[in-house]
């Protein structure tokens, strides 16, 4: 049985195809560009094409992410916290702590051995704690997104940002540039500041052991290092982590499909 999870994020739409709730067949993504449902449709088409699927092959489609209600052809939608937790647990069996840093928000999640959410906390007050902030820095520091991480990693004395506001943080960074703080130190400071905010979320849910990083920032080695340096414990990050929510949604879809065909109780 093939199930699909579609994560309609604010920055990127991600899709994952899973076979029998065990094997990842394929993943694909497209930038959201303000239209989650059409990006989602495209991701779905990309996946179908790559795996030569025909209508009817897909047993179940589960959406997640902020646009989960915006995709009409879904059978179920789950929150992206639930799905990220599930996905992370699949990617890294036994992990108990998941940190999801996406475009708009960061979440710390504590999960059970089966990937069920036990506790979670997300940044609410301020936007300075997520990926969009890195994108902005890249824009006005004129460092391409692809180079941000690599440049940051050569930092000697990272310069932390104290401002809690994403907008005022920009000014602070500009001041740092004016004061001739080396660019790598500023960049690493950005990642470290993100990591510190994430750390306070993690402390709220309580962390004791290794953390699994998911969301768009898994691609950034500097972010991974910053989290590790901040929390002083192992960070597990793999590039599939960006698809954790999509994978989790597909897994939950699979569970659901089994239940529907089986005798178990029905929700709703």
């Amino acid at each position: 049985m093939i199930t699909c999870g579609l994560d309609l994020g604010s920055g990127v739409v991600k899709g994952a195809l899973i076979e029998d709730g065990r094997k990842i067949l394929n993943t694909a993504s497209r930038p959201t560009r303000g239209n989650p449902s059409s990006a989602g449709q495209q991701v779905l088409e990309d996946l179908a094409e790559a795996e030569n699927l025909v209508p009817g092959d897909l047993a179940y489609l589960c959406t997640t992410g902020f646009g989960r209600y915006m995709f009409p052809n879904r059978q179920l939608q789950v929150s992206d916290i639930t799905s990220s937790a599930k996905g992370a647990s699949f990617l890294r069996p036994g992990t108990r702590h998941v940190l999801d840093i996406g475009a708009q928000s960061s979440r710390a999640i504590r999960i059970s051995p089966t990937g069920k959410v036990l506790k979670f906390k997300m940044n609410e007050k301020c936007a300075a704690g997520a990926g969009r902030f890195v994108e902005r820095c890249s824009k006005y520091l004129q460092v391409p997104m692809e180079d941000m991480s690599a440049r940051a990693l050569s930092a000697q004395k990272p310069k932390l940002i104290s401002s809690v506001c994403a907008v005022l943080a920009e000014t602070e960074i500009i001041n740092n540039v004016a004061e001739e703080v080396p660019l790598p130190d500023i960049l690493m400071g950005v990642y470290l500041s993100l990591a510190q905010r994430a750390y306070s979320l993690m402390r709220y849910v309580g962390i004791e052991s290794e953390i699994t990083l998911v969301g768009g920032l898994v691609h950034s080695e500097a972010m991974v290092r910053a989290v590790g340096d901040t929390v002083h414990m192992g960070v597990n990050a793999q590039s599939e982590g960006h698809y954790a929510a999509a994978i989790g949604a597909a897994l939950l879809g699979h569970q659901r499909a089994l239940r529907l065909s089986g005798p178990a109780g029905v929700r709703n």
């Binding site: 604010s10 239209n35 969009r132 506001c165 005022l168 500009i174």
Partner: protein
């Protein structure tokens, strides 16, 4: 009498004017980048070019704005609050209330009949409701800041924008777009929300006519209308309003020249 220059180094732009006997000889406006000292120098240089003056003809340089301490070549620094008050009162002598909306903050300044600051209030640590807010939202909608004011005036069903946070407003804007709202209506909503926030700031110092609107955002006609509508009174706006801080600074310098205190 010799000329006096005022340089206002703000969070977004550096402005410079050169005055002699209350006459505007030259002005300049350039963005602030990472090197504030250089930007301030550049502002003065451009204004000198505009005025066709030589540096030696400017006897007094006053710095104002957030970057005022970086203007090492000036003789005096004054806060932009005093300067906006001074400038606004100079151009509109019956001004009793100045609202200055710049790139990073908003100020309400009550002035007395002599153009002195009687009271003032500024927005809190948050960047909400400032020029930056409009810049970001304009960007999210794919417009230039100069376009959004006029567009907002064409709105028919303004939407309600509740997010006070600049960053979250951006996503609110995107979500309105994805729900198919007319950008003009969204813009009108944004302008209304800033007008409302500004009003609450004006309330702190007390609203009294005449009101003069200064700072970069006063160039935005939509904002002028929104504010005037909310205040239910006309507002003075000068084409020079973004230079108001610099004008005030130059005037303060001119005072010193007259008083013979320039060194």
């Amino acid at each position: 009498m010799k000329a006096a220059a005022g340089i206002d180094v703000g969070s977004t732009t550096a402005k410079c004017v050169i005055l002699r006997d209350g006459e505007l000889l030259g002005k300049s406006l350039n963005p602030v980048g990472v090197n504030i000292v250089r930007d301030a120098e550049e502002a003065l240089r451009l204004a000198l070019v505009d005025a066709r003056l030589d540096r030696s003809e400017v006897a007094f340089v006053t710095g104002t704005g957030y970057g005022r301490y970086k203007i090492a070549f000036g003789q005096l620094t004054v806060t932009e609050i005093s300067c906006h008050a001074r400038g606004a009162h100079f151009l509109f002598p019956r001004t009793r209330l100045v609202i200055d909306i710049g790139g990073q903050d908003t100020k309400a300044i009550r002035v007395n009949e002599r153009g002195e600051v009687a009271d003032f209030a500024m927005n809190d640590k948050c960047a909400a409701g400032t020029g930056r807010f409009l810049d970001v939202c304009a960007g999210a909608l794919g417009y230039d800041v100069a376009e959004i004011g006029p567009l907002s005036l064409e709105a028919r069903h303004p939407v309600k924008v509740t997010s006070t946070c600049t960053v979250f407003a951006e996503s609110e804007v995107t979500s309105h777009v994805s729900r198919g709202k007319d950008p003009k209506d969204i813009l009108a909503g944004l302008h209304a929300s800033i007008a409302n926030r500004s009003l609450s700031l004006l309330q702190r110092v007390g609203i009294e006519p005449e009101v003069t609107f200064t700072g970069g955002v006063s160039r935005n006609e939509g904002m002028v209308r929104a504010l005037s509508g909310r205040l239910r009174m006309p507002i003075n706006v000068s084409p020079l309003s973004q230079y108001m801080g610099a004008i005030g600074a130059a005037l303060a310098g001119a005072d010193r020249l007259r008083g013979g205190t320039a060194s």
